[in-house]
Symmetry: C2
Subunit: 335 residues, 2 copies
DNA sequence: ATGAAAGCGCTAACAA
DNA sequence: TTGTTAGCGCTTTCAT
């Protein structure tokens, strides 16, 4: 436990060469080093169980091969897929990921930005705090390359953004319902204070419009992204005897609540009422495999964000890019 | 973007002092530095937007304030809570967490161990690969302080372990059912190839034994941790007309599948059949709030593991510790 | 109360 | 093909 770590100096001495030579060997800048010394050095490295000190290397190269990933909360089932996609892409290029939970707290977010700066991460992938509003200071002064994911936000000095096209996602979903001959489609939405939620509502409206179906604001119920709200809202819809034949849901929790309530009232899915929802948190597929959903490409979002970052870091690719990912319509039994 | 970073050298020059003084000020080793110079240095730091380079610091202090966290897959809903608990405790002491997904692959795990070693993380928290069996090499030669969580494993040179008492967890769950007057309790289990699963089965047996209920191996069905298996197994139980009045489930997916099937057969819960399961992946609480479950203290597991690690790192607390966490019985409607 | 200087382990010119 | 050397930015004795 206590014994000093082996350094290239030790190896150099042991091999009777200079540290420069050893360094080159371990960095595969071998081109003009004799196979003999190369092999000797490698062997000694193995024998002594040499572990390079990448901190020392980072100090001179100014690269840490580490990225920061800021998400609101990894426990929110929306984010693990993003983290996994990010980590997978990172690993492909030998980067590591430092994960940070911001809880949508601007101060925490700024603090992490600082810490990551100090740790010299090569880049930061960030789902910016929903509460940031106009408090851009921390973000704008961030000297580390930044890529935004999921939530759009106006900012200078960005490397890029990776977003989801929520408008066309709900447009596609609602259109699909319409083409299945559901004409009276209610929308149980989550809170409308995010761009995401507004886009989804717009997609719903646009789909109706393009199919010459009149928009009826009584069929749009705005509440929370919780299954209880799905239950309550669907109950309201059926109790008020609205003439509906389908329900489009703001996310999967809502959809699950709605399905449950409909079931309790012996309303058959999809014969009596069709149901569709965003698979925001991937519960549908686990628990209600019969629910037709719009699947978020979260894994891809994380993967592409890191891909964009590494592209920037390694190829000096600086043109700002905005990558807009499409969702998938997962067709199952219920519609 | 291109301008050189400010260093303590710049600040020292600007303030007309030595780098040593500047360093001490920024490290709060102020005791004998005049308030005047202190303030001057701090002001210059602020004005120049000085960001300390913790890589350089790490090189000399041999501390990175970074921990590694190895989990099989952050997308598996079992792990985000662990990661969150770990990150929360880490943040309290200004540590960061590098997250690594091993996919239960020994080679990947060993590779991460290496990378983290090179990055000089101060410690590693690890859910060891289920497939490791006797391939201890990578782990045993790891020079970084190691703490095991969730899955037990025999290993020298450990700082400690944080585990869950699965035996007494299922013992408590089954006992609770028995005390609620359910006497014929079936057990739908996941695969028995892990210590965890075996412990749970033993707890079940022990609870029966202690309550003088005879163990009937026909009532124990072994399958997968999937809701489909919960459906299939419960179907088998009712079709074979076993005389049961409760089902104890190996995890929540199984329980959800079972509940669904029972519902489809108009079997009432909990009147006809009581149900209980391990809330392994926290789906119950989201989707089936009426399901009584045994909640895993995963957040706490992550939190305590990092706590133990930091205790070791900062207080040289070396006695090997095994912390065994208890589960909680979450009593809801169904039992 | 402050400064000088050595050095953490490594890389990268530049020399040889 | 290999060695010399000068740092990277910081901490830390030991002087003063």
């Amino acid at each position: 436990m206590e014994k000093r770590h082996i350094t290239i100096k030790d190896i150099a001495k042991e091999a009777g060469v200079s540290t420069a030579t050893v360094s080159m060997v371990f960095n595969n800048k071998d081109k003009n080093i004799s196979k003999a010394t190369r092999d000797k050095i490698l062997k000694i490295g193995k024998d002594f169980n040499y572990i390079p000190n990448s901190i020392a290397r980072s100090l001179v190269t100014k690269r840490t091969n580490t990225l920061g990933l800021l998400v609101p909360d990894i426990v929110n089932p929306f984010f693990p897929e993003i983290a996994r996609g990010a980590e997978d892409r990172a690993r492909e290029s030998s980067y590591s990921i430092i994960i940070c939970n911001t809880d949508d707290d601007v101060e925490r977010e700024n603090n992490y930005l600082n810490v990551l700066s100090e740790k010299m991460v090569d880049g930061i992938i960030l789902t910016h705090s929903a509460n940031r509003s106009d408090e851009k200071k921390g973000l704008e002064s961030c000297r580390v390359p930044l890529i935004l994911i999921d939530r759009d936000y106006d900012l200078e000095n960005l490397i890029g953004k990776v977003l989801i096209d929520n408008t066309s996602a709900s447009y596609d979903g609602v259109s699909y319902l319409i083409e299945k001959n559901y004409k009276k489609i209610a929308y149980i939405a989550g809170p409308l204070n995010t761009r995401t939620a507004k886009d989804r509502l717009n997609g719903y409206k646009k789909a109706l419009y393009d199919h010459s179906i009149e928009y009826d604001e009584n069929l749009v119920l705005v509440g929370e992204y919780r299954s209880q709200w799905g239950s309550d809202a669907s109950l309201r819809l059926i109790e008020n005897a609205y003439d509906i034949d389908a329900i489009f849901c703001g996310n999967d929790l809502i959809a699950i609540g709605a399905m449950k309530t409909l079931g309790e009232h012996n309303i058959k899915i999809p014969d009596d009422i069709g149901i569709m929802g965003f698979d925001d948190i991937y519960i549908s597929s686990l628990v209600n495999p019969e629910l037709t959903t719009i699947k978020q490409p979260n894994y891809k979002m994380g993967y592409e964000a890191v891909n964009m970052m590494i592209d920037y870091l390694e190829n000096e690719n600086i043109k700002e890019k905005t990558l807009i990912l499409n969702t998938d319509l997962i067709i199952r039994k219920s519609c």
